[in-house]
């Protein structure tokens, strides 16, 4: 189970990682670090939590090759860095940590991604959260518009009450990177469901057409692959307010993965799936049926798209019949389409016809 750690607990957890390396060397063996395997081959459904988590497979990173040895060294640098931050009461973004690593000599990071991945590795092994490490992401939080009210504690430590319709402009309310209780308190709402939308264009379309008012919902712009904070707030709203979450995305294999990360847990964050996933979320569209039924302007699937779809066929998160059908349908059709292609039938088609029909099927309109 995921929980927050105190600074002391965090340090102890990190020292265990270091100790594994140290003890090996003392024994006359090459130092190593053991972590769960983080691919789709090692995720399994946890029925108690209703989400996908890492299984028992472990991989060992050891110093027998130059690449892994450097990773171990980097890990040590990161541990040292985090301890320093904890002691100094500061925090840093992942990007800042990447730049700070330039001064670590042989232990510096090659790319930003390497830096992010190592932070995740540490989270997983120590069972701490990024926040415990005082590390913040770069990612943009989502934007929300709708008749829902919450309280945010600003940087001066004061609580501000914000209604996401009356107190915000047309861009809506922007979520901060930390959406935990110490930062955000969910107050009240008058919505029937939350619609999470993939593209900014579609979000703006629905806002302009007043969809949130006409259909009593909260609109949330995911900004593509949603940040942890976005997924976390969706989960909190879904549970604390008991409102359904509908997800409206483009119709392509990558969007399927976006949905999976929202509803089932992302492979990369499977160690904290129960923290971030909203198992009750539903997929609204665009589906292959929609592409065919509405004859939407579409593109051929590229080689990468096809590879992605085939990989999804064996991804445990898409194992149920509905998903298998959807994926196979798309492979057969050979096409993908954007959600904004609905504009073929006019700017208001999506709010006048498409969404109402879909919501009716889901019992929400």
């Amino acid at each position: 189970m995921v929980k927050r750690h105190s600074p002391e607990e965090t340090k102890v957890a990190m020292h265990e990682v270091v100790a594994e390396m140290y003890d090996k060397m003392v024994k006359g063996e090459p130092p190593s670090m053991t972590l769960p395997v983080r691919t789709k081959n090692n995720i399994g459904f946890d029925s108690k939590l209703g989400v996908y988590k890492y299984g028992k497979k472990r991989s060992t990173r050891d110093a027998t090759s130059l690449g892994s040895a450097k990773q171990l060294l980097r890990t040590l640098h990161v541990v040292e860095f985090i301890e320093q931050m904890i002691d100094a009461g500061k925090s840093s973004t992942l990007r800042e940590m990447y730049y700070i690593s330039e001064s670590w000599g042989m232990g510096k990071f090659g790319t930003q991604n390497d830096s992010n991945n190592l932070a995740e590795d540490l989270e997983i092994v120590t069972k701490c959260l990024r926040e415990d490490f005082k590390l913040r992401p770069e990612e943009d939080g989502a934007r929300m518009i709708g008749n829902l009210t919450l309280r945010e504690r600003n940087r001066r430590g004061e609580w501000m009450t914000i209604n996401a319709r009356d107190d915000v402009g047309d861009s809506g309310y922007g979520l901060p990177y930390n959406v935990e209780e110490e930062k955000i308190e969910l107050l009240e709402h008058d919505i029937d469901f939350i619609m999470a939308i993939e593209t900014g264009g579609m979000f703006d379309r629905l806002v302009e057409n007043g969809f949130d008012e006409n259909y009593r919902c909260g609109l949330l712009h995911l900004k593509g692959q949603p940040a942890r904070s976005t997924r976390r707030i969706m989960k909190r709203m879904s549970e604390e307010w008991d409102v359904p979450v509908i997800v409206f995305l483009d119709g392509d294999p990558w969007s399927f993965r976006i949905f999976a990360s929202i509803a089932y847990g992302a492979i990369k964050t499977a160690h904290i799936s129960e923290y971030l996933a909203t198992p009750s979320a539903s997929y609204l569209g665009i589906t292959s049926d929609d592409i065919m039924a509405y004859e939407l302007p579409s593109d051929d699937l590229s080689k990468k798209d096809i590879e992605a779809l085939n990989a999804e066929l064996t991804d445990p998160r898409f194992a149920d019949t509905w998903w298998q059908d959807q994926i196979n349908m798309m492979l057969d059709l050979g096409l993908k389409a954007e959600q904004q292609s609905l504009a073929k039938y006019g700017l208001d088609f999506v709010t006048d016809t498409y969404l109402p029909e879909k919501l009716k099927e889901l019992g929400l309109a």
Binding site: V18, L66, E83, M106
Partner: protein
Amino acid sequence: MGIAQKLADNQKQVAISEFFEKNKHFLGFDSLARSLITAVKESVDNSLDACEEARMLPTLRIQINKIDANKDIIEMKTTDNGPGIPQQSVEKVFGQLLFGSRFHAIRQSRGQQGIGITGVVMYSQLTTGRPTHVRSKIATEATASVVDIGLDTRKNKATKSNAAREIWEDENGELVEHGLEVTCRMKAKYQKGRQSVWQYLRMTSIVNPHADITFIDPEGEVHHWPRVTERLPRVVESIKPHPRGIHLGQLQRMCNESQDSRMTVFLRGSFSGVSSRSAKELCEASEISEKTKPKGLKPEQMRSLLEAMQGEKTIAGKPVKLLNPPTNCLSPIEEMLIKKGLSKTIDSRFISTMTRAPTVANGNPYQVEVGLIFGGSMAADKHVEVLRFANRVPLMYQQGGCLLTKAIEAVNWRQYGLEQAGGKGLPKGPAAILVHLASTNVQFTSEAKEALADNAEVMEEARKAIMEMGRGLKKHLQKKKKMAKTQEKFELINDILPAIAEKSAQILDRPVPDLAGSITKIMSAVISETQTTWNKETKMTDVSVVLFNYTSRARSYTILCTWPEKFGATLDNNELGGRKEATGVWAWKLATLDPGERITLSYSLGGLEKGDWTETDVFYRGSQEVIGASKMDEKFLDEIRQQEKALREAGMDIIETRDNESLLDFESDDEPTEVVPDEYDQPTVEAPEGQQTLFGGGN
């Protein structure tokens, strides 16, 4: 003048230009671009041959100027530092067709492939109406002789004009001691690129590493190919013809000229490879009495003798057994010099060269040499550059139809690391392949002498040699990969691992752990590091091989290293002793290495120049793989031993060290070696239309 005489004169007149027109292609003047290359070639060939015969290191200078771009008139000026030509011989050399020492003897010579400088004089006269200006200085005279040699088209004779003597000073104002300068104009085109004067001279410099060549092109740009060795090519001996390779005309001539009183004496003395017994058997097979005088042989007897020599007439069903001809009539370029020549001209990572032992085909001795140069700045997506040579003369045309190219194409390059579409044709990659055929009788595809004719034996010999190159390349590429891995491991245990130990100890506030055990488990290999470096002070090449045992068990090895024994190097400062394994391969049986232990093997090589030996191949015999060395390939050793044997038999096993050759050791009283002997045999090349010479004069 009678009508007959008039007609005869006219006929002669037509004959010269007609001769030229009809035979432009095989004389090398069929295109404007080619004409210039032919002119350069004849001049350069002469200079190189002259310097070699005089045992001097050649320094050549070739300058091309555009005189009239519209009319394509080019001026060529070539200068060499050779022995020069005595005044009285200049006319003969430049004005007489097929005149020279090159044509008569059976030995490897450049001259087989050209009509000589006379062809250039002819072409120049015919296209510009101007004579060729020759300046020649011999060492024993104070002044140089100058003269203009031309062709009188009406009288069919060489013309001499403006003969004089002058003082010849070089650009520094110093007196030229000896040398030759030829200036002539002709209708020709200067072009750049693959079939150009530049490329011709570049290739010439590769296979004549002892020559210093400077080329000034029409734009004034100076290209300089310095010499990479002071060693002159071997002195070649003429050999007598071998019965298997002779033809009827030659046999007839030899019989007619022979003063011998009996057939057996004639056969033993005038041919190579004929013992007393073989002489008797030849007579028997051809049904000619041993006592017959060769001069008195009848035509059908000569034919019979020829058939016996070719093995068509037999004794008891078997052809007469003959010995192989000697092969000391060949002068290969030599592996190390090819390597030096290539490395000076082409930027690269890896060069491998090989000189095969000489052998015989159809009664003619021949020898194949190959070189492969790889990496550096050559383009990886283009076909490899093919450098073909016959008797040290570059072949620039008809690449596709040449035997040497076919030999390259007949190798499966994909297994050696080069691309080759469909396994056929020329490979692609950042490489150049050199093939040189040295022979007393090179067979060409046509009179134009641009490409070598098909010959199964020569092709196979060349292919085998080229495959060796391929194997070397493959090993080099594998070695590089392995070395990269070894470097990584060294970085790991020398830098990263200690850092991990320190930092983890620091974070946990505990003592730094000892790394010995971890290192052994990480490496779990035996590593060897080899260094081959030139020592400026001792003027020797130092070689050191360090062996590290990073495994958990004791190991014992025999280490073998290659060294250039064939080139006269000496192995010194060899404390560990060892023993000779084969020519150029020395072996040391090392004491057992405990885990974590290392041992250093070192020695020095003398008798070499800087850059002669830059990479040592290290082999091992032992149970555990050694990273950085190759397992001893017993087949490789066998091949070396076989080649050793063949070279010994040819008398070519150890090349003389350079102390034997010295530059310009003439005393001024000595007569310089004449390029032109007073007596000479008639040329073996048949003159066209029954005429021996065109210009009249001489024999």
